[in-house]
């Protein structure tokens, strides 16, 4: 899946004032790339990920997915892309607290209408892949931060998406666990051949990325 933005702009209105979160950003992410988006807090990383992940609408500018202008997509079509072609990983994991690890992983598949047997089988396999088969029936509050993020990664992979978007996935983890999560994401990129886009402060992620975009005050400053 190729993602391209052209003059992408997002302005938030706070009362009478306006905050330009993303300012005319144009860039392109190729298939199977490992991309890091770095920048200080409040620079617009999360906003950019939300826009390219079709979770939010730009104020102006265009986002193309496989050369299709996403502005032309209906809400339902955008939802289908989020469900089956994009997997999200959040800094705060965003697991549903009432469901077990296994059920959290099954959830996207349930939403996609996959048979229960298939959901269970794949969820078990994914939890095994992230090293959490023993914790499958535990609820999020019974898991460590690292374990929760692993569950979130497994959930992101549930519908076998082409792109994984991770918003500061190591932000709330200790360095050892963060290293493991980075290795897992790298593994997903290299072995599963999925595009991985990570917003991060973490230098270790920057080190392994194919491309690094630095964002500052809503503008992409440096590209390496």
């Amino acid at each position: 899946m190729k993602i391209k933005t052209v003059d992408l702009t997002k302005i938030y209105k706070l009362g009478l004032s306006e905050i330009i979160a993303i300012n005319r950003i144009s860039f392109e992410i190729g298939e199977k790339q490992f991309v890091a988006i770095v920048g200080p807090t409040g620079s617009g990383k999360t906003t950019l990920l939300n826009l390219i992940g079709l979770n939010d609408y730009p104020t102006s500018g265009k986002i193309f997915i496989d050369n299709i202008d996403t502005a032309l997509l209906s809400t339902g079509e955008r939802r289908k892309i989020r469900l089956s072609r994009i997997g999200f990983i959040f800094q705060s994991f965003n697991l549903l607290p009432t469901l077990t690890a296994l059920e959290n992983v099954e959830l996207p598949m349930a939403l996609a209408g996959k048979p229960e047997e298939e959901q269970r089988e794949r969820a078990v396999r994914l939890l095994e892949a992230v090293g959490l088969s023993e914790r499958a029936y535990h609820r999020p509050k019974e898991l460590s931060m690292g374990e929760m993020q692993r569950v979130a990664i497994a959930r992101a992979l549930a519908n076998n998406p082409e792109v994984i978007i991770a918003d500061e996935p190591t932000g709330e983890l200790d360095s050892k666990t963060a290293k493991e999560i980075i290795a897992l994401l790298f593994d997903i990129n290299r072995n599963e051949e999925k595009t991985v886009i990570v917003a991060t402060h973490d230098e270790k992620i920057v080190d392994v990325a194919d491309a690094v975009y630095t964002i500052h005050d809503g503008k992409i400053k440096i590209q390496s």
Binding site: R79, S84, N94, L96, L99, L111, R120
Partner: protein
């Protein structure tokens, strides 16, 4: 994994709130059932009273409240002269004198529902009342025999062949009335002479049923009776229905009003709890949106949660409601509550239970619409923006 699992987890996760909400719905359902059962019983009794004398003219004392065929109040009038005068009129085929007393009790306090109804009519005319009834035993053949309604028989342990004492007089029970009339199952039917004696109305009656000859217009006979006998009124089928309709309409209106209020309360309650619940779970709904859940999924989750609350609440409410309805019936009739509990489906019809359950679940679902709309509008970008 099924969406129902998510709903059940959400409900059980917030046990106290869910329990209180279910309890609130159960209370509303309980009152709907209790009020509905009581009013339905009234309407049923009133409606069926007319079925006894269809196509006949009922003569009752002036000033009496005539609910369908039967007069309440108004006092008795002389039997011989009245019957003689009516039977001599042109077009009259037959006149059956009767005495009906709703206040006759085997014990207890005054009540607003029929407790023990005493009906007296000539032995040879017993089929007028007993013709359509299910009778265990036989109709009275003599003045010393009585027929007892099954509800009274159960209450006092009366069986066919047993001798019973009513106000110092001994009678042999020749039959037990097993229905279908709610009025007759609380009745003691005896000969007119004995009823006059027991009720201390010698040679007096308080109603008469007039059969007209074929081809004669009932209205004309009724008018003639009223013109010639000043102390009675003569009511045709239509007139009796007109007299009763406002009472039935009033009771039905009350029932509908109470149901509407209580269903609205259930809806408001579930809506408030739903709004609170959505507000607490904003992050969850935003996450669902981010991973591709559509508005239909969100709606299904919330409406299903509310339906489950409605289902459990209505089930509990129906159980409580039946008990309260039985208690109310017992309170208003002085009949022991146990007798009502043993025939629950007579007090609260199964169809009515299902109807109430469906209405309660539907109102709870309706209460979920606003929370569902709120939840479906939550976007992950707003949540994350608020967090960072």
């Amino acid at each position: 994994m099924h969406l129902t699992a998510i709903c059940l987890r959400n409900l059980t996760h917030r046990k106290l709130r869910t329990s209180l909400c279910i309890f609130g719905v159960a209370i509303a359902t309980c009152f709907i059932i209790a009020v509905g059962a009581t009013t339905s019983r009234y309407v049923e009794i009133i409606t069926e009273m007319n079925t006894f004398f269809r196509g006949k003219i009922v003569v009752a004392p002036r000033g009496a409240i005539v609910i369908q065929g039967f007069p309440i109040g108004g006092g008795p009038f002389p039997q011989d002269t009245t019957i003689y005068n009516i039977s001599k009129m042109d077009g009259v085929e037959k006149v059956v004198p009767m005495i009906v007393d709703f206040g006759f009790e085997l014990g207890g306090n005054p009540t607003i529902m029929p407790v023990n109804v005493t009906i007296g009519l000539p032995v040879k005319e017993m089929s007028l009342i007993l013709g359509s009834a299910t009778l265990k035993g036989q109709m009275p053949n003599s003045t010393s025999e009585v027929v007892v309604g099954c509800s009274i028989a159960d209450q006092y342990g009366i069986s066919v062949g047993l001798k019973i004492n009513i106000k110092g007089k001994e009678f042999r029970v020749c039959g037990i009335l097993e229905g279908p009339s709610a009025l007759l199952i609380r009745s003691i039917i005896m000969s007119l002479e004995e009823a006059q004696d027991v009720l201390k109305y010698p040679m007096m009656i308080n109603m008469a049923v007039v059969d007209s000859k074929e081809g004669v217009v009932q209205d004309e006979i009724a008018s003639e009776i009223e013109n010639k006998i000043s102390y009675v009124m003569a009511l045709t089928d239509e007139e009796r229905n007109i007299l009763t309709k406002p009472i039935i309409d009033f009771v039905e209106s009350w029932k509908i009003a109470v149901q509407a209020i209580l269903l609205s309360l259930s809806m408001v309650l579930t809506a408030i709890v739903g709004i609170m619940s959505v507000s607490e779970r904003r992050r969850d709904f935003a996450t669902l949106d981010a991973i591709g859940a559509g508005s239909s999924h969100i709606f299904r989750i919330i409406l299903l949660e509310n339906s489950l609350i409605g289902f459990v609440g209505s089930m509990l409410g129906i159980v409580f409601g039946v008990i309260v309805a039985a208690f109310l019936a017992s309170f208003y009739t002085a009949i022991p509550i146990g007798q009502f509990l043993s025939s629950i489906f007579v007090i609260v019809q199964p169809f009515y239970m299902v109807e109430v359950m469906v209405l309660v679940i539907a109102s709870c679902c309706a209460g979920g619409i606003i929370p569902a709309i709120n939840a479906s509008k939550i976007r992950i970008s707003e949540i994350l923006k608020a967090e960072y």
